[in-house]
Symmetry: C2
């Protein structure tokens, strides 16, 4: 039997990626599923759908609902919640740092710290100082990591992730993708994705 | 203690309203919650958002995902599934008949029968013959009900439902609304809505 795997596609500007990012690792571990964190950018995908902004801003009734629903979802999970301003935030810097960190040991912790700062404390993750503080708290060399995050190699990983996401049919975040190509969109599909990944691997 | 209530806002053209319509009554009963079935039309609401078609047609990646996801959701619930063509269907006739039936005893059964015909068997609910066959199967006088469905009184109920939905902030279906005005959007929010309605009523 090949071990079950699951790809977790996330975008730091995405609201429901916050509870998903907080839940996914312990749940995957419980089910014996190997998780891959796949940062990507929704901007280019939204642009190809004709959107130059978050659909939650373009469609205000949907946006109002989402903020209230996210507050309830976080409340039920015991997660802190604060609506960040501005929204959506520029997530490129955080995503590039995540690419660096996920190839090392501190990537997942960094991702969770960024989500908590953004949607748990309402901080602006586009400010370099925010990401730098996270790195320092993780005992990392912020200056060296910022330099690594601006290399073409890292920029290309993020660009190629985004292209792969679009090829897979991803149109929003979070999205979970199993080894046999099943897509599960949304924090509320995490359990279904884990179940599928397990069955697909014969688990 | 006032008994808990929940409004179930649904639209016959809405895909995820199908599993919700099949699940909602037994679950509400289990929780001791009084359910009100509220048919409305999404067309005018979508138009006010600038859409002249289903977002699942306007955004093909989202549409492809939705059909696959709906198939999986129905599979997990043991519900038959067939993608109807055309989509979305004109739901005005079925919605007007539902208004008639929900003021009598056969409304909920009619709603479930329409959803099953549309998304369980892929039939076209815009055809009067489809609705007529459902009514006959429910031992109802199809001719008299079709006449009642075309009266101004019934048309006005449906119009006023749609206006109320928009005032409540509803932007999609299914939506569950508690007595204290909390909105829960989507089949996958049904359990959360029932829990909220119960707590709100002190249950």
């Amino acid at each position: 039997m090949i071990g079950a795997t699951l790809d977790f596609w996330f975008e730091f500007a995405s609201t429901y990626s916050y509870p998903a990012a907080m839940r996914v690792a312990p749940l995957a571990k419980t089910h014996g599923i190997t998780l891959r964190w796949r940062p990507f950018l929704l901007g280019p995908i939204f642009k190809s759908q004709g959107w130059d902004n978050s659909p939650f801003n373009l469609y205000p009734a949907k946006g109002r609902y989402m903020w209230r629903d996210l507050e309830r979802v976080c409340g039920a999970l015991g997660l802190p919640f604060a609506q960040p301003s501005p929204f959506p935030q520029n997530s490129v810097l955080a995503a590039r740092i995540a690419v660096v960190g996920l190839a090392q040991s501190w990537g997942e912790d960094f991702c969770r710290a960024i989500y908590r700062a953004e949607f748990g404390e309402g901080r602006n993750i586009a400010e370099p100082a925010t990401a730098a503080a996270m790195l320092v708290a993780l005992d990392q060399d912020a200056k060296a990591i910022f330099q690594a995050a601006q290399t073409d190699a890292v920029k290309n990983v993020l660009r190629s992730n985004t292209e792969e996401a679009q090829r897979l049919g991803i149109f929003g975040a979070p999205t979970f993708v199993t080894a046999d190509g099943e897509l599960f969109w949304g924090n509320d599909r995490l359990e279904a994705a884990l179940g599928w990944a397990k069955r697909q691997a014969g688990g």
